[in-house]
Structures are given as C-alpha cells and as structure tokens.
C-alpha cells in the first residue's frame, strides 16, 4: 500500500477487523455494476472511495433530465450524452487509484458471460427484471456472489446471493412480476440508502470484514424508518441454482 493510499483510507483502516489486510483485498477485487443510475451510481461511488481495485460499469443510453433526481454520478452538463463514460469519469475523480471501465451496454444474453467473467462479484441494480434474472443466472453459473439492490417509492430491499449456499433471485421470483413498470415512484435518497447498503455488503464480502446476508432479505421502509430481515426459502427445484 502506498503512502497516499494509507492516508486516503486512514479512517476505514481503523475499522475493527479491516485494517491493511482488508484494504489489500479490496484493492485486488473487481465488481461489475449493472447500471450505474440511482442505485448503482451510489453503490459504485462507495466502492470506488473504499478502494475497490476495479469497477466495471455496464449501462447503455444517454442521460435524460428525469434521471437527475437520483443518478448521483451524472450532472446537467452531461445531458443527452452517454451515461457510462460520465459515471466512470466521476469515479476516477473520486479515487484516481480505482480502475474504472465504462461499458456502454446493458446486460444482455450476448454480453453477460464476458461481463461476469471479468470480475469477482456482481452488483445488480438494473430496473428491468429480465436483466436481473439474466445476471443472476450467469453469476450463479460462474459461482460469483451477487448483491441485489432494489427500491420502490420509500421502500428498499437487499438480497445477497452466494451461489450454492443461499437462495438465488430465481428462487424468489422465477418469472418477472406481472405489473412492474420501468418508471416507478422514488426519491434519490432511497436509491442512496440501498446503494450504500449494497456497497457495504460487497465490502464485507470482498474484504472478509463480516458476514453478508445469507438466505435473508433486508426490507427497509424509509417512511417509518423500519428495517427488518426476513428469512428466504432456497428452492431445491430452482432451475438456476437447484443443482448446486
């Protein structure tokens, strides 16, 4: 670890059970962030500032005005230009030590193998269930941990998938829900809460700092500030993880 890194991470190096060994593990780690909008943007920022060595941002399309209530890595100056490169530039500004790759694609059947293959862990922050289930399937196939962050209105939920050990997303919902809409009501602060929760799950997983959620879902109601963990069923007949 360089003197600059030691100074930059000084506050977190003092966290019990973390130290220079934890920091070294983060530096060696890589994470795919599927969509770097509201949830993924907050999550990626925390990973970059914490010192995760490589962050791959997968997000297609140009920034729109209605993204800017929550997409913390973007700015008005970037309207109508591709999201992923400006998010990557912001992450590099937050931490020049981080290697950040911008992929101007959403997760698809054609690219999912390559995207997951090149990282140690996956952050699932996309708004569409087809993408989330595809990412889950590939992460399980490659036996890589996946942290699933989701939100609606003033609620959020977090699930960590450890392939072969915990329920996967296909155990929870084998098909996309019938009435989910691409646009839904939410505040950027809700995206920030669940993005940061997802980031701390990944920091724990990658550094060995503490145990992540295992067969549990964290439910957060930010209207009442009630947080609750519920226990998930792992399905033996799950077509994605049942054979592991």
């Amino acid at each position: 670890m360089t003197d600059v890194e030691r100074a930059m991470y000084a506050w977190q190096l003092d966290v019990a059970g973390f130290g220079e060994e934890g920091q070294r593990r983060l530096k060696q780690a890589s994470v795919l962030v599927s969509r770097c909008g509201g949830v993924g943007g907050h999550l990626a920022a925390e990973l970059a500032m914490a010192g995760v060595g490589k962050i791959v941002l997968a997000h297609a399309g140009n920034l729109r005005l209605d993204d800017l209530n929550r997409q913390v890595l973007m700015s008005h100056a970037g309207l109508n230009t591709p999201r992923a490169p400006q998010a990557a530039e912001r992450l590099r500004a937050l931490n020049p030590c981080a290697r950040v790759e911008a992929v101007e694609e959403n997760v698809t059947p054609e690219n999912v193998n390559r995207l997951v293959e090149n990282v140690d862990a996956v952050a699932c922050c996309a708004p569409l269930f087809e993408e989330r289930l595809l990412l889950n399937q590939e992460a399980v196939r490659q036996k890589k941990p996946l942290v699933d962050c989701a939100m609606f209105e003033l609620e959020a939920q977090l699930v960590t998938v450890l392939p072969g050990k915990t329920a996967c997303l296909a155990c929870l919902y084998p098909a996309p829900p019938p009435a989910w809409q691409r646009r839904f009501p939410v505040f950027g602060a809700v995206a920030g809460v669940v993005g940061c929760l997802g980031a701390i799950e990944l920091i724990k997983l990658l550094s060995g700092l503490a145990l992540p959620l295992e067969n549990q879902m964290l439910l957060c109601d930010l209207r009442t500030l009630a947080f609750r963990k519920v226990i998930l069923l792992r399905r033996a007949d799950c077509p994605v993880c049942g054979g592991l």
Partner: protein
Amino acid sequence: MNFERQVPMNITVHYLAQLKQAAGMPSEVIDVPEGCSVHALLKQLMERRAHTLRALVCDSAGLPHPALLVFVGDDQVEPNQVLRDGDHVTVLTPMAGG
C-alpha cells in the same frame, strides 16, 4: 350433531411496495376460516380487492403469481402453508433498481 360454530381466524396482512400503493393501506385484518392456507388467503385478497390488487398478484390463469413473495412472521412460506389465528402475513411483489 356438532353445534359448535367454526370461529374465523384473524390474520393481519401487511402490504409492501406496489401492493401497499395499490391497496391504499399498509395493512388490514382479515377473517379467514380455520385451516386457511396462504394460497386461499391470496385468492380471498384478490376477490376482496379485485380492482386494485388483481393485476399485481395474478398470473394469466387468475392464480397467485409465482413472483409474489409471502412471509408469515419473518419466514418466507410456500402457498400450501396453513395459517394460524393471529398470524401476520407480509405480501410483496419484487422491486428493482433504477
């Protein structure tokens, strides 16, 4: 002859996320017959709130959609789980990012 009347059970249903918005309330107490399963409870909810919940919780055959997550207390349960008087049932549809 059995003169005992079947006493309904009180089940508190908690709605989360889209379901809370559609139901217009975070929770309600519902009477169900003794021996009622989660599946039967969901069908009763669909009938009771057909105009608001049906599109969120039904599959094309009108049955509870497999993406629906149901918890009794803090434990996720299967549709055939039999409920007990006083149970708290949480129902939610999955959320996503954005």
